[in-house]
Symmetry: C2
């Protein structure tokens, strides 16, 4: 099966050869990042040495304060770990909790990297399938029944990629109790935290305990994918093990990235900036939703996130077949649903400029 | 056993509390980096999106050309993989070649991360001990006899960290033949490539084949440790697998780091810059060698690299005991030899400013 990297690589190759392609494969936002020029120049002299494994102490403190205030909880820098993107965090975490084998439960449709990362560990995954008729929203009671002796963790993704669904607070509370009772880990990937269009988003941080682990990233909220920075909150004992692992994997995260993000998080205009980004994403969500509704093309209504999960035309058996021909004929690259565990859907990235989005939508609709 | 990270962390903690400590723990050079300001400003607008797994195509091509010319061989961008530092490269490589178990041979004294990384894989390591009486230079015939059915690779480090020894070309040729015959991998960590004070250094690249894998890094040659960038050359099939692995681990290396290093490598003043760095390191090597010779303190003569491996005073049983008390009493942090597999030696980083080095040496000698 083709990976997401494969489709992205194809998209890049066409571009590098001077071809025109509308790239909607990866969910990497291209909204304006916070102002960086002056910051980078000022911080450059401090960028040359390693930082600490687990990340710069100042940034860890900033993050602990920021999220403590946001969710009215008490986090300290001992709860924080910083990685080369959210992905390195999940890679380290899953390798640690599955070091003696065991299973994690992954909800389908899933971010393609969850099963791929688990395959790199000593453990396995079990897929919990959500259904199209439920708009791919998980039934948490059924989910809880999947937990068995082998279960080490459940991975939640809210706002969800690729579906855009947001887990309701009552379901969060339910799961918080379950993982406490079963003494397993609830890993909540919340990298799309700011993209909440209906006021539904609640972080698992609100109910933080030693059984909760939450992941966030600069890539998605600051449109700084290339700067490779993510952070997470967890039990201090687990965080210590993660630092130790990172010391063997990549020493420490990128120093300049950390210094810059620390300043951004302490900027008095931060909330305004994040709100603006949310609006930009909502504007695109609304355009795509209106467009596909008018064209009577089925999709999952995204309550958040920066992606849209769309049903393939009936004449195609599989999304990868659809995506391949769409790229060849219409020069639009999308992510086929097989990658997320749903072969009848494909995902488009909404966080691009509006002209590209509209042109991409037009080409896709033409192909139906 | 205390890790290197532990001693570095201690050193940093004392500094962060405002304490004065001479930090010689890590071998991270603090020589002037190439000019970055203008480059960073110009490249900043291109820094926001992911690059490709395995690294930016332009930089891969630059690296292939650069090393092809340097060693008079023919490398293409398909031979190149770029990682978040040399460490991520070794982590991915060792996880791949040991994915079904097996062993790698590590020569002692070794860079502390080799065994630590292997412990994170499904394989094991076997230590080949070199002796103080041979100045810790390996006998390659004896080394070859250690290869058995389980052996997947031998790790070489030249110029060596911590000993500063450089593998002679005749021994390189011998090993190149051996690994070809046995069809195993020769992993050569050559991150200290430019620090060759006696004209002895030869890269395994000169005899490149599908059994050779060489690692290099921006950290050591450009004093850009915080920029987390390393690169390597290997067989295209293995490089493909590594890209796939990185896609699950960290997506892609830091975009700005790659853009900047690509410009540095294409700078017409590059050779002059590297030569200057070599001279700075040699100056420090000579100072330390003279100092300890006069004080009649035993050390291993470093032919290259940026470290000095020094014998502990007879009254101490172990280097970790020595290092701990040295840090407490004299406020000099060094790396105890247990970390490298030699409990009677400790390592000091020479690539610091001369005043710090001299003061560090003075305090160490005082303690003898």
């Amino acid at each position: 099966m083709k990976t997401l990297a494969y489709f992205y690589q194809k998209e890049r190759e066409i571009k590098e050869k001077g071809g025109k392609v509308i790239g909607l494969t990866l969910t990497s936002p291209t909204f304006p990042s916070p102002p960086l020029k002056k910051r980078v120049l000022r911080l450059l002299p401090h960028s040359f040495s390693y930082s600490l494994s687990g990340g710069n102490l100042n940034l860890r403190e900033t993050l602990a304060n920021f999220y403590s205030k946001k969710w009215n909880i008490k986090l300290s820098k001992e709860n924080v770990f910083i990685g080369n993107g959210g992905k390195e965090i999940l890679f380290i975490l899953l390798n640690l909790i599955l070091k003696d084998g065991g299973e994690v439960i992954i909800i389908s449709p899933y971010w393609s990297s969850y099963p791929r990362i688990v395959k790199r560990t000593k453990g396995n995954f079990k897929i919990f399938k959500t259904l199209e008729k439920d708009n791919f929203y998980p039934n948490v009671e059924s989910l809880a029944k999947e937990i068995n002796k082998k279960t080490k963790a459940i991975i939640i993704n809210t706002p969800n990629n690729p579906t855009g669904k947001i887990l309701r607070e009552k379901d969060i509370k339910f799961l918080v109790e379950i993982v406490k009772k079963k003494n397993i880990l609830l890993i909540s990937d919340e990298v799309y935290e700011i993209y909440d269009f209906e006021g539904l988003y609640c972080s698992f941080l609100k109910y933080f305990s030693k059984n909760i682990f939450c992941v966030f990233s600069a890539s998605k909220i600051f449109s700084m994918c290339g700067w490779r920075l993510g952070w997470c909150f967890g039990d201090p004992k687990l965080i210590e093990e993660m630092k130790d692992y990172q010391a063997d994997l990549s020493t420490s995260p990128h120093t300049l990235s950390q210094l810059v993000v620390n300043e951004i998080l302490n900027d008095k205009n931060l909330q305004k900036y994040l709100e603006k980004n949310r609006e930009l994403a909502k504007e695109r969500r609304d355009i795509a939703v209106d467009f596909f509704s008018k064209k009577r093309i089925d999709f999952i209504f995204p309550e958040g996130g920066i992606a849209l999960f769309v049903k393939i035309p009936q004449r195609f058996r599989k999304a990868s077949q659809f995506a391949k021909i769409l790229l060849e004929r219409e020069k639009v690259s999308v992510a086929p649903g097989e990658i997320f565990g749903e072969e009848k859907f494909f995902r488009i990235n909404l966080a691009v400029n509006i002209e590209d989005l509209k042109e991409g939508l037009r080409r896709i609709a033409k192909f139906y």
